[in-house]
Each structure stands twice: as structure tokens, then as C-alpha cells.
Amino acid sequence: MTSTGAEVLIRALEQQGVELVFGYPGGTILPVFHSISKSNIKNVLTRNEQAAAHAANGYARVSHKVGVCIATSGPGATNLVTGLANSFLDSIPVVAITGQVKSSLVGTDAFQEVDITGITQPITKHNYLVTDANDIARVVNEAFFIASSGRPGPVLIDLPKDVAMFACSEKFFDQLDLPGYKPNYKGHAIQVKHACEALQKAKHPLIYAGGGIILAGAYQQLQTLAERISAPVVTTLMGLGAFPYEHSLFLGMPGVHGFPAANYGLCSADVILALGVRFDERVTSAVENFAPKAKIIHIDIDPAEISKNVSSHIPIVGDVKTVIEDMLKRLTPVNNQQRLNEIAELKSKNEYLQQRIQSDKLNPRQIVEKMSEILPADTLITTEVGLHQMTVAQYYRHCYPGCFLTSGGLGTMGYGLPAAIGAQMAAPKRKVVCVAGDGSLQMNLPEMATIKAQKLPIKVVLINNSCLGMVRQLEDVSYPGEDLFAIDLEGNPDFCRLAEAYGWQSYRLEKTEDIDKVLIEAFASDQPVLIDCIIDKRDYVYPMVLADDPLDKMLMP
């Protein structure tokens, strides 16, 4: 039996269990959209390809499947780039399919031609330019396997229009032939033994856990491990939710805007167990001063992360869940009351954060804390990037893994709103709330129309300070006394009226005493709602560690 390349592509996607794609059509990708229209796969039409890539990311993170986004050649493909880079840095499994000009025109600077496999080489786990329709089924099979196995990441398939239209054999592959790709899941037994010995001997052990815990689904193992050896836990921005916020061993998020207890904890630990983390510079600050006293055990599925930024004493390459399980077979319980007292003492340093909530003036901390109180525990929270994002990281009581979707590695303004679309499509019955700043929201603002069109009851909590708050804070601290430059978002629209123009409900929140009423009413709606919260420009995020300072040197005015 023969079909066209596009038909084979769609059937290969169906074989992978794809039910939903985020796509934006155009000339060269039209045969693929034509085949989608004849299939059971649903297409969500975003308003910009970048949003399709972010939505696929949000969908992947909530559904635990591979997210798929589709764009046409040229500008369609280049618009995907930010979204793919974002998924690459946060290790989210996404497959992107782009149209390409027909094979005979490739390399001629044809209309809407770009070398997208060349452009995306550094920001994809792998990519393909398909030149023969008979390769399509194999390529799709490989792409999904590569995207979702080992350290997950985005894979791009570039498909010239004529290849999509060629008649080809409909032969599917379940065998993979990737001689150069063999992720290692099982940790080295002797290294595991060394790690366990170091942890049992440690006086001040500390667990530093990241997004890898969530990707590997290792949160129960993490909690058992921490409780078994009475070790405090810090989780990175990507790892928030991997360990219960209310747990007595939880010190919070470390880093530049970290919890005081987490930063002090990292500086004083004698053994650090790093699980699915990459010692990002936002966490370590001055890398040469990072955890000066600690012996470091680093467990990660990606060998290249080991000793990349910080040298590790006991490296273990493997799936973090499998390795923790192996460790739990060896580790004996540590019941050390003195250590628990020390942890409680360390934790008291986080009271600083609580003290910053109370104020007569409306501040984002009060709003986020109230959200934590009234939203169901399985609510999916997405954020944009900036002060509001750090406020959610610090004040939202993340208690379930995978409920917090944010752009960690790339720090992409414009991620939150489209990611909320993906999240809501993956979990139609759960509440989805996007916390945004007025700068970030405007990066992918037109997605408000996608949300309306798809009838998604997404809530946007807009922390509106009429400026680029995080950059403002940085300018203020870096160039004290000087005029602030290029941060005023003069000309902002009236966001409530804008929301109404998109067919959304809206509220304006200006007073502390209205928080309860507005949030409860807004979150109860079955419609999309925007809550415009008017915040002072000088309301900054603290603590703050300045560039090249050690973690325990925190600015707290």
C-alpha cells in the first residue's frame, strides 16, 4: 500500500500516541495539515509559532507524553526557535515538525526558506532533514525515542514539501538502530556504595534536588531518602514541588533569589547529594566559592553534567530514581536529634520571607500566599519570567511534583501564557493559573485569543507594576543613584478592557483587603479571567545575591 509522506507522518504520530498537536499552518507544511484534518489528531491553532512550542512544552510536562508543535518553513520555523531553546535547557520532550521548501529549491534562498536544521543544531537534542519519504516513519520513531529517553529534550524534523507529497511505502518500524545513543539508567554499584558511605558518615549532609527528580518521577524516593538519613532538602526552581513545602526537612529553593535557609545550608554542608541538577550559575552564584566545605555526590543521567560547573567527588551516571532506589537498599536510618535541631534552627532563617508578606500596600507576596491558600493542591501554576516568577517560587506552597511550570534555564518571558494552554489541554479538569508580569504577558499576549477559542478556563494573575521590575531592580542595585533606563512600560493598555476585548472576564485588584474576595470569585469562574493586580514599582524581590558573591552573602534590606 502506498500513501503520501504526509499521511505516513500522521500515522506515525498516531502510532506514538499523539492526540493533540500545536500547529500554525503555511505554504510548505500544508500537505501535513491536510493529513491532520483527515485524522483523529486535534490541532490547536496558536497565534504565533513560538507559543505553539511553549504550549507543547506545557503539554509535555503535564501529560508526561511528548509534546508536538508544527510550523511552516522560514519565519514559521524561526519563530519556534525560542520555544525549542527553552525546552532544550529545561530538558522537556518535544518534537517539532517544520515544513521546508521543496527539495530542488533547498539551498537557493527560496521564498520562506531557512536552514532550520542548521539554526536549531545547538538547541535540539537531535534534528533531521528528511530527503526521502521512505525515511519518514523511521525518523518519527527515532525522534520520539530520542526526545523522551535519557535526558529528555526537543527533536526537530524538517520536511520538504515534495517529500511530504511523495508516494511512499507505508512501512512502520518498531526497531531502533541508533548505535551512538545508549542512555545509561543504572548507576555504577561501587559508586553507589561510596555515595552511601559518605552520606552515613556525614555530619551535615544536604540534598540538592532539581528538575531531574520530576522528570524521573523520583519524588517518593527522594522523600524516603531524606527522612531515612535525616538530611535537609533544597530544591531548585525546576525542582519545586519535588519535595513537600511544609516538610520539616525542606529548606526551600537555593540561589540568587533563594531562601536564606537553603543558601546557608549549602554553604555549611559537609556532604552534598546533588540529584538531577546541573549546578546552574543562578544556584551556585560565584562558582569558585560554592559549598566550600562539601564533598559532592552528583547523580545525573547526563554524563556531560558531571563536573561541568562544579567538580564532583563521587559522580554517578544514571536515572535518578533507579539510583536512589539502589541507595535505599544500603542506607540505614540516621536518628540524630541534634541534627534535627540544627535543621530547625537553620529553617528559622526563612522567617525573613514571612516577615516580608505583611504590608498595608498591596504586594505580590500577599497575593501568591493567598493563592496557595485557596487553590486546590493539584492546581497547575505557570509563570512568566521576572519578579513575579521569583515571588511564586518563594511564596507558593508547592506540594505536588510537576504542578509548577516555569522557564528555568532560558528564562523566557512569554512562556507562561502559552504553557498554560498546553497544561490545560493536558489536564482539562484541573485548575490552571498563569502568574504573569505586565512585561512578560505582552510577549505572547495574542494567546488570549487561543484560550478563548479553545474555551479554556485559564486564570491570569497579572502582577502589574507598569515596568520591567526585575531589570529595574538590577539597574537600581548595579548603578545606584543613576537614572533608570528602558524599563518603564509606558503605553501599557488597560489590561481589564483588553481582556474584555478578548472575551475574557476581568478584575482589578488594588487594595489588600480585596484580595480574598477577588481571588475567590475569579478562581470560581468557568471562564478565562484576568486579574490585574496593581503593584508598586519599587516592590523588589529579596534576598538577592549579587553577581560573583558567595551564596551566604545575601542582600536583605
Partner: protein, 169 residues
Amino acid sequence: MRHTLSILVENRTGVLSRVAGLFSRRGYNIESLSVSTTDKKEISRMTIVVEGDQKTIEQVTKQLHKLIEVIKIYNITGEEFVERGLAMFRVIPTPENRAELMQVVDIFRGHILDFSPTSMIVEITGGEKKILAFEEALKPFGIAEVVRTGEIAMVRGGKSKNAKGENND
């Protein structure tokens, strides 16, 4: 330190650009690079000479391993191996020193590939040091053009470094 990596990759379009791109974007410096097919047409071998300390080389190797099409990487620096590169020089001797030039070529066991009234092309194969020494020896005669290949290398003895691992013959 100078490291010699012998890398087996899938013979597909784009592999060279992936490898070269990785070196440039992560700030590693390629000293020389040579690529060709092996006895199996689906597999190519790249010999890359790279300068760097132990930590850099470890990162280079790990990052190369992340490329899906890279099958196997051997860092043969610490082993006994033979290395060869090829260089061609266009030299402009005078009628007076032409005989002397031919002697120099003989000493280095080079070859004369082209002979014209005004110029000669001479060829040499050998390791990095030999080629550099030969170049030095040619300089007094006047070098008009140099073309060099990257180095290729093979470990001494009966062990082969293939895509499936090390095989004893």
C-alpha cells in the same frame, strides 16, 4: 596538552557540521581534523587533534558523546600510536640552489610532485614534528604555498579501535 581523538560516527550528511559546531560554540579549539569513510560505508572516522587540559578534554569527550550520530570516541593520547599527516609545498628555488633543495627533500624522504622552470611542488608525510621541521628546512628556498591535511592516527600493536569497541586480531 595536545590530545588525539579517534571518533567513529555515522556516515550521514550534517555530522561534520554538528561536530565542528560543538567545538566552536563551547569554545574548544580544533588543531586539526580529518574525516573519511572506513571499511564500513555507513561509518566514518574523524581524527581530531585538540589542545586543552584534562578537564577540557573530558568535557569535549562527554559533549561529543551526546551527539546521537557519534558512535565511539577513543582518546588515544596516552597510548603508543603512529600519526601521519601529509603536506605539499610550492617552493621557488633559484637555478643555483635547486640541487640543494632536492637534497633536502631526499633527507626528509619527501617527493617531488611537480617541476617547472620557476617552481617545484614537494610532498612529505609524517607526524606533526617532521612536517614542521621540513617546512623550516624549505623556508630559505622560498615557500609560495602550503597545503596540509589533518593528522590521522592508529594505535600500535594488534588492537583495533572500531565502532563496536576494541578488537584483538
